[in-house]
């Protein structure tokens, strides 16, 4: 394990995690909303926002799938040291991190009819996030919102699975947004 795996976690976990979670919850509750998160610095190529989502939500109970571009020894060591989360294939993942090209189409669990919550949450690494592009409608959105999405068709198909489906965080640098399964994209 590299020595820098030991750094870059939350300095004051209870407080840093509380701050980060508030933003994470707000973006999931209001699709299209973009928030800045701070308090953790993961090793490249993991974005700061993706790292903070992992720090806030992952522990030994949540298997994490790393797509090839994020699957480096430094990232693995960092996640192991700071969260204790085990690594898994796509089919067992509670969380998955990677670019959209890497994650799209993988066999992630979408939940079951009786337990639709047992689906993977994807952390989609983007180059940038902005309130432009696709139009979003659905719960959490007053009329409509806009968000720069990597594509629309896959998210439309995902929404059709409701109440099953995947939920997504979109991350770029220190910014995070979310797209739950309920959001209708056009």
């Amino acid at each position: 394990m590299q020595a820098d795996a030991l750094s870059g976690g939350f300095a004051n976990a209870p407080i840093d995690a509380a701050h980060a979670f508030r933003h994470i919850m707000q973006v999931m509750a209001q699709p299209g909303r973009i928030e800045t998160v701070t308090g953790g610095t993961p090793p490249a190529p993991l974005s700061q926002a993706a790292g903070i989502v992992l720090l806030t939500l992952c522990d030994p109970e949540t298997p994490v799938f790393l797509a090839p571009s994020r699957d480096t020894q430094a990232v693995r060591d960092w996640i192991t040291f700071h969260t204790g989360a085990p690594f898994s294939g796509a089919a067992e993942a509670a969380f998955a991190v990677g670019t959209w090209d890497e994650l799209s189409g993988l066999p992630f669990p979408i939940g079951t009819a009786e337990y639709p919550d047992r689906s993977t949450t994807l952390i989609v690494e983007c180059d940038a996030l902005s309130n432009t592009g696709a139009t979003l409608r659905g719960p959490g959105i007053k009329d409509s919102a806009t968000l720069s999405l990597p594509e629309t068709a896959a998210f439309q198909a995902n929404a059709k699975l409701f109440p099953l489906g995947l939920d997504h965080f979109l991350t770029a640098g220190d910014q995070v947004a979310a797209l739950p399964r309920t959001t209708k994209v056009s």
């Binding site: 509380a18 919850m25 509750a29 939500l57 522990d59 079951t112 009786e114 639709p116 689906s119 719960p139």
Partner: protein
């Protein structure tokens, strides 16, 4: 309370609750199972709401707790003190000043904003429970969207009483999919469930968390010929004169004389401070004296 973590719960427990909250927001009205912890207050007394609040609170928050709409109810006082001690948060009785509001049985009269979070204490999260006692069966019914039993129950009310005999915990359908128990709020509050704030519901003993994101569609179940009606006592508040607020009924003398006052004590106080006086009220300076 230096022996305990910020907001009492350990970080792993908070993460587990936070994950459940996010899935709840992603599937509005669906009850997410969570491993409720044993809290230092009894089950049935708000342990679900307390765990949800503990998982969302930040040190900068301003916290308000109401029970029956009032900040001064003993259990509300007890929960407010708990978080003052364990999270060191500021507390308030003013709805507008609160960033997180934990409630039992009411939605504040004042409209809530996008930057506010309303946490409900829920005793029985399963709206179908009193029609079907088995969890295995009700889970199946939700998965199949099989809600006929609920409509039969409401319709039996109508044939027996001429009206739907559910006055509180009145079932709603969220975003056209899950039938949800809005917790035992009076049905007067049901229309307010469509709001700008994030609504989180915690049931500790029954180990369920569910959520309604801002601006979600929340429809009270009804029939075309018997539409849902949000009713309240046909009376203005005797203290502040409000005609639009939900009222408590008090017995004020040995002859059984009644007085009606706002159940939302902050709302009533605010109106009285603005100079409104009800039939049996006094201007606010006199009361304080």
């Amino acid at each position: 309370m230096t022996d305990y973590n910020f907001a009492y719960l350990d970080e792993q427990t908070k993460r587990m609750i936070r994950r459940a909250i996010l899935k709840g927001l992603a599937i509005p009205g669906y009850q997410v199972p969570f491993a409720s912890r044993e809290m230092p207050m009894p089950y049935g007394w708000g342990t679900g709401g307390v765990q949800v609040s503990a998982a969302v609170l930040m040190p900068e928050d301003t916290f308000k707790v109401i029970d029956q709409g009032a900040d001064d109810t003993t259990n509300a006082v007890s929960i407010r003190r708990f978080f003052q001690k364990t999270a060191g948060v500021a507390v308030t009785e003013a709805t507008a000043k609160a960033s997180v509001i934990q409630t039992r049985h009411r939605i504040p009269e004042e409209d809530l904003r996008e930057d506010q979070i309303l946490v409900y204490q829920v005793p029985i999260p399963e709206p179908l429970r009193f029609l079907e006692p088995s969890e295995v069966e009700t889970r199946k019914m939700h998965s199949l969207e099989e809600y006929g039993l609920m409509h039969v129950k409401l319709y039996e009310d109508i044939s027996q009483h001429g009206a739907i005999a559910t006055a509180y915990a009145y079932p709603v359908k969220v975003e056209g999919r899950y039938v949800m128990d809005p917790s035992p709020i009076p049905k007067f509050d049901n229309p307010k469930l469509e709001m700008a704030a994030i609504q989180l519901f915690g049931a500790g003993r029954e180990q369920r968390i569910y959520a309604v994101p801002p601006y979600s569609k929340v429809v009270s179940l009804d029939f075309e010929d018997f539409p849902f009606e949000a009713s309240k006592a046909d009376h203005p508040c005797d203290l502040c004169g409000a005609t639009d607020s939900y009222l408590d009924e008090l017995i004020v003398d040995d002859d059984g004389g009644r007085l009606f006052m706002c159940s939302d004590t902050d709302y009533c106080q605010g109106r009285r401070a603005a100079g409104h006086v009800g039939a049996q009220g006094v201007p606010i300076e006199e009361d304080a004296a």
